[in-house]
């Protein structure tokens, strides 16, 4: 996309006024998407993304710019505009560009783009039919498949020898949405498995027929669900996507972008207990073929398995190069991410999960006389400074006498990250991951959330169903 010779020229122009780090991120993304509405092709898209982001750091200052015009004139103009915000003498002259090395963590057998469009459409049509066939109350079914192939050239200069990384990221995701309608109103249920593997994931690894059936069944079931009670209750959260709670309440406040500035509730927590002793947690960008996996991060640092919490003690953060500058003796750990060249990268999660514990998930439910079982979340958000979070369940049930009973709708869990981590009193042995997109300062990035079945002793539940009896 741009030659090494041009990259060298742009890096030197960027560093002319005293910058101590410069990085060029060039990207060409060719996504394809197929969307079906009630089994009929509604749209086929192939929006092409193309551009370059340039970042120059100087101590604790950062300047960033991007352009979708990759001509020499445009790139040098961008470097000049950005470097003009520093007023120093040149510290670094880049003389050559070497090649960066990294290990691959994702392996594609069959690229989605090599599968004929008709075959992908037939697959989506089959899923749509399974969902529609579940119940006549399903009034609308949306299915979709997206695949984005991101071709990245990254040039990083911190000294006379810059490093060039070339990386290709391929990510695909399946969407299935069922909307059921009845006298009670509408209910929507969603499933969206994603991968950095290829077509083989959708046809071989994933039990898509089962998932489709479940999507339809859950939408119908929620139609007649009663309103969730409100108050403070014991809550058991199912494995997999339930980990979005940890992601929001604890993952975000462990990102160096907030901890390094003292803006997180966990800023000064290294070595201190922040969770109940049964909790250990990781962020691991290297899990083979997972949705949140990458080979290198947006700054060319290889991804790694980062320990965040060990037996309740905070042991690490997700750290990007810029935030590391505010943190004594702490190095970037492969967690700097961005949605596209339009975003300045910062510390983000990849595959983040609570590690498996010892309890049998069935026992956890059996030992709960009265409470709420949350089987699926719609999503949630958190204020990293105060730690306050909220999550809304898309599927929840009442637990009575150790058994999962009637479904309830409109269930929201609210609290603070500090509180919820301490409230975990049981951790199951059934770790599973779920896929999502996480939106924050550097855009929307694909992430896995994950956890085993866990129990919270007591947490605030919001709903419209009065007291739980």
């Amino acid at each position: 996309m741009i030659s090494k010779a041009l990259a060298l020229e742009v890096l030197n122009a960027a560093l002319a006024t005293g910058g101590d780090y410069a990085e060029i991120y060039v990207e060409e993304t060719t996504p394809e998407s197929f969307m079906l509405e009630n089994g009929k092709v509604e749209s086929v898209g192939s929006p092409q993304g193309y551009g370059c982001g340039l970042r120059i750091l100087n101590g604790l200052r950062s300047v960033y710019g991007y352009t979708s015009d990759l001509s020499k004139k445009s790139l040098l103009a961008l470097a000049e505009k950005l470097s003009a915000s520093y007023e120093g003498e040149r510290k670094i002259t880049v003389e050559k560009i070497g090649n960066g090395r990294y290990k691959k963590h994702s392996f594609v057998e069959t690229h989605l783009r090599d599968v004929p469009a008709e075959e992908k459409i037939d697959y989506l049509r089959e899923i749509s039919q399974i969902i529609s066939g579940v119940d006549p109350r399903i009034v609308r079914v949306q299915t979709g498949l997206t695949c984005a192939v991101k071709n990245i050239d990254l040039f990083v200069a911190e000294g006379p020898e810059a490093t060039h990384f070339h990386n290709i990221e391929e990510r695909s995701r399946l969407f299935m949405i069922a909307i059921a309608a009845g006298a009670e109103g509408f209910e929507t249920y969603f499933n969206g498995p994603g991968t950095t593997a290829g077509w083989e994931f959708f046809t071989k690894t994933l039990d898509y027929k089962k998932l489709a059936k479940e999507t339809g069944e859950k939408a119908v079931m929620m139609l007649t669900a009663k309103e969730c009670p409100s108050g403070r209750y014991t809550v058991v959260i199912k494995n997999g996507w339930g980990g979005v709670l940890f992601h929001e309440a604890c993952g975000h406040p462990l990102e160096a972008s907030s901890t390094s500035k003292g803006l997180s509730v966990f800023s000064d927590s290294i070595g201190k207990p922040i969770a109940s002793p049964c909790v250990s947690a990781w962020d691991d960008g290297t899990i083979e073929n997972e949705w949140g996996t990458s080979d290198i991060d947006s700054e060319g640092v290889p991804t790694q398995k980062n320990e965040l919490i060990r037996d309740g003690i905070c042991v690490g953060f997700m750290v990007d190069r810029f935030s590391a500058r505010r943190m004594d003796g702490i190095k970037a750990n492969g967690t700097s991410r961005r949605q596209s060249y339009r975003y300045c990268p910062t510390s983000r999660m990849s595959n983040t999960y609570i590690a498996a514990g010892k309890d049998d998930p069935e026992d956890i439910i059996k030992d709960t006389p009265l409470g709420i079982y949350v089987a699926n979340f719609g999503g949630g958000s958190v204020n990293p400074t105060t730690g306050e979070f909220n999550f809304s369940a898309s599927e929840a049930y009442i637990i009575r006498d150790g058994k999962i009973c009637e479904p309830v709708k409109g269930c929201t869990l609210i609290g603070t990250g500090q509180e919820v981590l301490m409230q975990i009193d049981r951790v199951g042995n059934d770790l599973a991951l779920g896929q999502g997109n996480c939106g924050a300062a550097s855009g929307s990035v694909p992430v896995n959330v994950g956890q085993p079945t866990i129990r919270l002793k007591e947490i605030t539940v919001g709903g419209r169903g009065g007291k739980l009896e």
Partner: protein, 439 residues
Amino acid sequence: MNFAKFFELAKAKGIEESQLSFSKSNALSISLFRHEIENFSVNDSQSVIAAGVINGKFGSCRTEKLDKDTFPFLIDNILLAARLNEKEEVADIFPGSQKYHKKNVYNPKLAAVPANEKLALIQDIEKAIYAADKRVCDVEVGYSERESESGFYNSFGLKLKQKSNYFYIMAEVVMREGEATKTNYDMFLDSDLEAFDKDAFVKRVVEGAAKKFGADSIASKKYPTVIDRDVMADLIDYFLSSAIADEVQRHSSMLEGKLEQKIASSKLTIEEKPLTKNVFFSYFDGEGVATQNKVIVKNGVLKQYFYNRETAKKDNVESTGNGSWGGGKIGTSYGNIFVKPGKVSFDELIADIEDGVYITEVMGLGTGMNSTSGDFSCQAEGFRIVNGKVAEPLTLITLSGNLLKMLKDLKGFDSNAKMTLGSISIANARIKSMNIGGK
């Protein structure tokens, strides 16, 4: 680029009718953290979206890569998308409206102000925020400016162009008192720097955080509720998205079959006025249709759905000029929404509430809202209202209800309307009662 060439190439490939829209923008943003410039960014970007119809089937494609291969790339992908398209309706390209109401909303004075003056402005704001309250421990202040140009062309010879610009200033303040930390965020949007009142802005953002100290939860029950205009704007946005004809036709809207019916309190009147001369002005939509001002809800009666050309055809009406691009197809969007404010002051609005709640912020509405049924439940914060006055702050409470029920229970608005970044102008609202979850 020579767009005429695109239409020639498209025709040669058998695409009978086609259109192309071009957009170009450049932006500047600066932010400060602890007295230093933390981020400084300059961006420019461009993109082209093209669409065509072949054998009555629609196809489209978007790219940011503009070079000699752009037109063939767009055309190949339009052909592919049209071939696979299974929509039954016969598609066509819109030739053009009879009349367009073009206005000049570009403010050349904004771009002429040098970047260092804009930097100085936010440095001033930062200083004033620190000085306003001893408990302020961190401040993040940012300035962003965007200038954009768009063009719409089609194979019938239509050429439409628009240029606009705006800036916004945001501040987030963190305050500490003992162990408690409170944050507050505010922003200001305009295209004229002279419209910005620094002192009022600083006062609002600092006082907003200070008022939150000592917050506690409240007993769960129904309370007379006052909803802040920013929160109300988010809620009205969900209501309006149900008025999109596509949702109605797909049976997933709470407003299906409700045209000309009383669906809300008579205090509710909503207009869409895209031709208002402000930063959200637009005189043509994503299909090249001339936009028009219109009433959506009048005194609680639903008067109008939002249509693009395709959904209008299904209902045998004209497009309302609300077509927009999204996800590789023509969708529907709206902007410059004006919800009619009331005549009373905020104090008068709450004067007769003995024991109520004033909601100033909600979190998690995106996932807490069932946009087809209107049922919602979300985390909220705000204040108690005791004997007609705003009293102690509330935190970690939940607000829940049903959107339509809430609008039926609307008792009125105060007169303090404000335009949000989401282009909805709305005032603070009083609701008869709502479910508040707490202790």
